[in-house]
Symmetry: C2
Subunit: 158 residues, 2 copies
């Protein structure tokens, strides 16, 4: 870990603490850096904004993408105070940053009362065997929309 990494990761941890102390939500913070500049920050705001998706990483990704005017985090490093939960890791895969650096682990999060580990365990299961049972129907009708997407000429891929 170089000095910049240490600086920004510590900043993410500080955001976790101040957000928690302010009552925004859980103790999680995130800082996104591109070319030596902070382009987005976030802390957990789930309970104060009634938004279960408002995890630190999602908040920071949305802020950074808005600032960069892009739906991709090309060349960015994401510093987060805790190993991303599956939702946030999925969001990071869609945003495609260059690097991800975190501090605490999913085990630490579980120990503090957060469901990250449970969700990691559930994701590889067959959809029908999960804690929240999932069923599927009308597959052919939905496939027709995908066929229309594939046939569409001027689409923006992501």
């Amino acid at each position: 870990m170089n000095r910049d990494d240490e600086h920004y990761l510590r900043q993410a941890i500080a955001l976790a603490r101040t957000g928690m102390e302010r009552g925004d939500g859980g103790p999680f913070g995130c800082v996104i850096v591109k070319d030596g500049q902070v382009v987005g920050t976030g802390n957990n705001r789930v309970t104060s904004t009634n938004d279960p998706t408002a995890h630190a990483e999602v908040v920071a990704i949305r802020a950074a993408c808005a600032r960069l005017g892009s739906f991709q985090l090309d060349g960015c490093t994401v510093y987060t105070s805790c190993e991303p939960c599956p939702m946030c890791l999925g969001a990071l895969y869609w945003a495609r940053p260059a690097r991800i650096v975190y501090a605490a682990t999913r085990a630490d999060a579980a120990d503090a009362g957060f469901d990250d580990s449970l969700i990691y365990e559930e994701l590889p299961l067959d959809p029908a065997e999960r804690r929240y049972p999932m069923e599927h129907h009308l597959r052919e009708e939905a496939q027709q929309v995908f066929a229309a997407w594939k046939a569409m000429g001027d689409k923006v891929k992501y």
Copy 2:
């Protein structure tokens, strides 16, 4: 599948198509229902809003939670035109609805050019072995914030 399920799932598929045709983003739609009422809808808006997290399910979850004034989807059924990607499935686990019903599968999404399957394959891997390498440092400093969270008396859990 009962008649209501068929109705709402078809509505989610219709949102997928109209959103795609309008140029909002990919061909995905979602409808959230509670006690026989639609409480939130969404379609993919990634490319038109520069928000990689603006998948149909995330958009619908945020809308439904705002309307319900809650960060939980207690008693709700989520209808989505495609099997949720790991980001959206994680978001659903955090929102804790009663049921999830989908139409197309992750294989259908992959066939249409979307990364859902890749992300499902990457999630169970060790963080250091993923396509986007992840490193971690300063664990003890982050653990201190979790300890402060655990010691805090008047917190809202989620």
